[in-house]
């Protein structure tokens, strides 16, 4: 029987319905804002300690331990500090944060007030993906509710702690999901990553010490405060990876959607076949991308791996934002990597050399191959380019573009070779990027 498994405790999915949005529901059914009250009775260090015990690792993709991250904020700093929620959710295949914000916005608000209290920030920002217009409105409404009820604003719950929260909508750039790119965009600057160091914890938004956390990371906080780090840690089935985790499953699968599973409890195969009801139309599974389109692809033989950070890293891919994309036998892998590479080339901010030049070069080569103009040496050239990008760019976008190309070429080489030998060919001419004429003069290209 496919669908959300019910044999363990879930925190989120039972509340993913329209009625859950109201403050009254949140308080009645989800112990709403009790964690906040409890947190005000604790010291910041005690909360950070609890966070460390929880083994909560960032849910945005990098998997950095949240408690440790919060501890990086310099206590002595006299500069204004900020807590920023990364709700850009721009990694293709990821849509879990959308559900959280859509159905349980107060969870995010409460998590942010607690986070702000811990790091000493009096202003929080939710940087939300520009396309999430509905969620931005829902968040704004929830924030109004919270202000009216005294959970935001001055002297929250009589604690003497002030916290304001602002929703800031992005304008649709993948790179603004990178934390320093996000901060630049938040400040009204061009959305491109900053050179690190300084890290945001030293100098982030508007020059002040800043913590940037993913939505799901912050919404885990009230649960941890209420029930303890140890309890949260034990929800996970692996050491150093606590809590449940929301998986966004999409692609050629019978029941795509958001699923909540204990960290480290399920293999990819179990998720595809048991939780999500198997491959669409009963077709054969060809591949799985385990962590958003930037994660190196896994073949159908590689999916007996626990879907968590360390196990997937060990086999050369990544869990990322836990966005699982399922690919069946009819999918042409060359066309798929062309689409993925086109995305990263388009989303490259253009400031650093390997990403700006390399991503488009890879895209050009793959398109050439698709249109029957490839050469056998192009495949090794592609691998060489990925090697020259990987780990050598200013931010992780370069790696995000290089990883998939390398894995596709290595694992599905015969499909590329078929195009090169002329056995397959895409109709039409290779698009030359408008004659490769980069018109500019203030014009933005879609």
């Amino acid at each position: 029987m496919a669908g959300q498994p019910k044999d363990f405790e879930t925190l989120y999915v039972q509340h993913f319905h329209e009625e859950a949005r109201a403050l009254a529901y949140y308080q009645a059914k989800m112990e709403g804002y009790t964690a906040l009250k409890k947190a005000f009775g604790m010291t910041a260090d005690a909360i950070i300690d609890e966070m460390k015990k929880s083994n909560l690792r960032g849910r945005g993709g990098a998997g950095f331990p949240t408690g440790m991250k919060w501890g990086f904020i310099p206590k002595q700093s006299t500069k204004e500090k900020y807590l920023v929620c990364n709700a850009d959710e721009s990694e293709p295949g990821t849509f879990k944060d959308r559900d959280i914000m859509r159905y349980t916005p107060h969870l995010l608000i409460e998590g942010m007030v607690i986070g702000g209290f811990v790091i000493g920030a009096h202003h929080g920002y939710i940087y939300i993906r520009g396309e999430y217009t509905r969620e931005a409105k829902l968040l704004d409404a929830a924030i109004d509710e919270a202000y009216a009820a005294g959970f935001l604003g001055k002297n929250i719950l009589g604690s003497g702690f002030d916290f304001d929260l602002t929703v800031h909508r992005g304008a649709g750039a993948y790179i603004c999901g990178e934390e320093t790119g996000l901060l630049n965009s938040l400040e009204g600057k061009r959305g491109e990553p900053r050179v690190k160091p300084p890290f945001p914890a030293q100098a982030g938004a508007f020059g002040g010490p800043t913590i940037v956390n993913n939505v799901e990371t912050l919404t885990d906080v009230p649960f941890i405060i209420n029930r303890g780090g140890e309890w949260f840690s034990k929800l996970g089935k692996l050491e150093k990876s606590g809590g449940t985790r929301l998986f966004s499953v999409s692609g050629h699968v019978n029941k795509p959607g958001v699923y909540e599973l204990p960290s480290g409890a399920y293999t990819l195969r179990q998720i595809v076949y048991d939780v999500c009801g198997g491959v669409l139309d009963g077709k054969k599974l060809k591949a799985v991308i385990p962590g958003g389109s930037s994660a190196p692809v896994l073949t159908a033989d590689e999916i007996d791996v626990i879907a968590d950070i360390e196990p997937i890293m060990k086999i050369g891919s990544m869990l990322g934002s836990a966005a699982i994309m399922v690919i069946h036998e009819d999918q042409c892998m060359v066309q798929l990597i062309e689409r993925i590479t086109k995305f990263y080339a388009h989303e490259s901010c253009g400031q650093c050399t390997p990403c700006r030049e390399g991503c488009r070069w890879m895209e050009d080569i793959i398109q050439r191959i698709l249109h029957g103009k490839g050469k056998m040496e192009d495949l090794d050239l592609l691998l060489d380019i990925t090697n020259n990008i990987n780990g050598k760019t200013l931010c992780a976008l370069g790696d995000a573009a290089a990883g998939p190309v390398a894995s596709f070429v290595k694992k599905f080489r015969p499909e590329f070779e078929a195009y090169i030998r002329g056995e397959k060919r895409l109709a039409g001419h290779a698009p030359g990027h408008g004659g490769k004429h980069a018109e500019g003069h203030g014009e933005q290209h879609g």
């Binding site: 400031q351 700006r356 070069w361 780990g391 500019g440 003069h441």
Partner: protein
């Protein structure tokens, strides 16, 4: 003191220094494009990535501060392979039009390509092209050559104080341009060409004039104002082709204003008087000097000396004037409204100062006063200047004799003009507004028949006694 090791060489450093600068001190060159010591660090070109022990990834040397005990390898296999790959990436879309590019010969992209790149290309893709709009009178842009280092954007925002260069579009289509394609506004625009590491921004004033390697270079000081910015004159065939800034951290750092940069144009200008003239007609030095002396004979003479003249020239005039014209007055001139250093002040927030001559302070130190008007009773004026000082109004003066650098219209009314030398044709000392003594160096020979002031005054002093001595007697003296 903290020490780190770069390619096996131990080197001391002060906190905050980056690896590029430290390596430079021990003779290790780390190649880079986007880094510039006078601008913020962005680590965008990735060319300077080096291997640092105990760090898994290559680190960009520009953005990595050294730490005690750090061991750096700039020439490891990984670092070298990264340099090679960055060069490959940068050249995918570069037009490689070096033979017709003005930057060739002094181009970072070209030099690093030879040193660190591969001679073969692996790309067969069509190159990216852009359309360029006019950037105003100073800079010619060629976006196709651009490598997106963003030095120009940072120079405008951080140094010139005007956010006029920007990046528009994104990714591979990123275009470095002015906001809305408007012409540049800053009066420091020439620096854009200096800092551009490739031929994307070149000087309209210089392009297609000379190949960079043909230029002879002389380190000297700008005479454009009392700041005394350090600069280099570049000439070929006794014609100045270009002036560029020389770094001096205590004065102009890395920059030069456009006024100072393009000031040299009068030196080789066609309208410059480069032969002695008497009553508007060319004549010989002997008869011109004789005519000049005749014109001033017995008159109440005012000697007006430009504060663009050097200390050495000032000393000569201070000695010469009372002897040649007993009872005469010697005053200096240069910028209308500014007769003393107390009236001099910064003219902007970067380099420029209000005194538009280089040696106002020097003249003042020698005790000469500035002229704010022509004293009553003046019958004749002997005006001497280097070429930069702005002439006072001499309309009411019946007799004017001019020594120095003038153009035809300036001395149309002069009885006699004796052509002298500009700042680029002589050696000498100038004293800037803060009392810093700096040397002007001769970069070209005096143009035409122009002579140094010392030589002119010598002719003046000795020609009164008799006609020039015959050559035989000179030979006798020398022998």
């Amino acid at each position: 003191m903290a020490k780190c090791t770069i390619d096996g060489r131990e080197v001391e450093f002060t906190a905050g220094e980056n690896l590029i600068e430290i390596a430079r001190r021990v003779g290790v060159e780390i190649p880079y494009f986007c880094y510039h010591p006078g601008l913020s660090v962005v680590a965008q070109c990735r060319m300077c990535a080096v291997e640092v022990e105990k760090m898994p990834k290559l680190q960009t040397a520009c953005s990595t501060p050294a730490s005690d005990g750090m061991i750096v390898h700039t020439d490891s296999e990984r670092a070298k392979s990264n340099q090679k790959s960055i060069m490959e990436f940068l050249l995918i879309n570069h037009p490689l039009d070096c033979p017709i590019c003005d930057k060739a010969g002094e181009c970072d992209l070209q030099e690093n390509s030879f040193k660190y790149g591969d001679a073969y290309m692996r790309t067969s893709e069509e190159r990216r092209t852009y359309l360029d709009l006019d950037m105003g009178p100073v800079i010619k842009k060629n976006m196709n050559r651009c490598i997106h280092c963003t030095r120009c954007i940072r120079f405008g925002a951080e140094v010139a104080g005007v956010r006029e260069m920007v990046a528009v579009s994104r990714g591979n289509n990123t275009e470095i341009t002015t906001i809305d394609g408007r012409p540049l506004e800053t009066d420091y625009a020439g620096n854009y060409a200096d800092i551009c590491p490739t031929g994307s921004l070149t000087l309209k004033d210089f392009r297609f004039h000379k190949r960079a390697w043909m230029l002879k270079k002389t380190a000297t000081v700008c005479e454009g104002c009392s700041k005394g910015c350090n600069m280099e004159i570049q000439q070929d065939n006794n014609v100045i082709e270009r002036c560029i800034p020389r770094p001096n951290m205590e004065i102009n750092r890395y920059w030069l204003c456009d006024e100072g940069r393009f000031n040299y144009h009068y030196v080789n200008d066609r309208s410059r008087i480069t032969a002695p003239t008497s009553l508007g007609g060319k004549t010989s030095w002997t008869s011109a000097v004789a005519a000049a002396k005749e014109a001033l004979k017995g008159k109440k003479v005012l000697v007006l000396a430009g504060s663009d003249l050097t200390q050495e020239e000032a000393k000569l005039l201070i000695e010469f004037a009372p002897k040649a014209f007993p009872g005469s007055t010697l005053l200096h001139f240069g910028t209308p409204g500014i007769t003393a250093t107390t009236q001099d002040a910064p003219a902007d927030t970067l380099l420029k100062r209000k005194s538009k001559t280089s040696n106002l302070n020097g003249w003042e130190k020698l005790g000469v006063k500035g002229a704010d008007s022509i004293p009553a009773g003046t019958e004749a004026v002997l005006v001497i200047r280097g070429g930069r000082a702005e002439l006072p109004n001499l309309d009411g003066v019946s007799t004017v004799v001019a020594i120095g650098v003038f153009n035809e219209s300036e001395v149309a009314a002069a009885k006699v003009t004796l052509p002298g030398t500009s700042f680029s044709e002589k050696d000498g000392t100038i004293v800037n507004y803060e009392g810093r003594e700096q040397r002007l160096r001769r970069s070209i020979n005096p143009v035409g028949q122009s002579k140094q002031l010392g030589e002119i005054l010598m002719l003046w002093t000795h020609s009164a006694a008799a006609a020039p001595r015959p050559m035989e007697s000179v030979k006798g003296v020398v022998a």
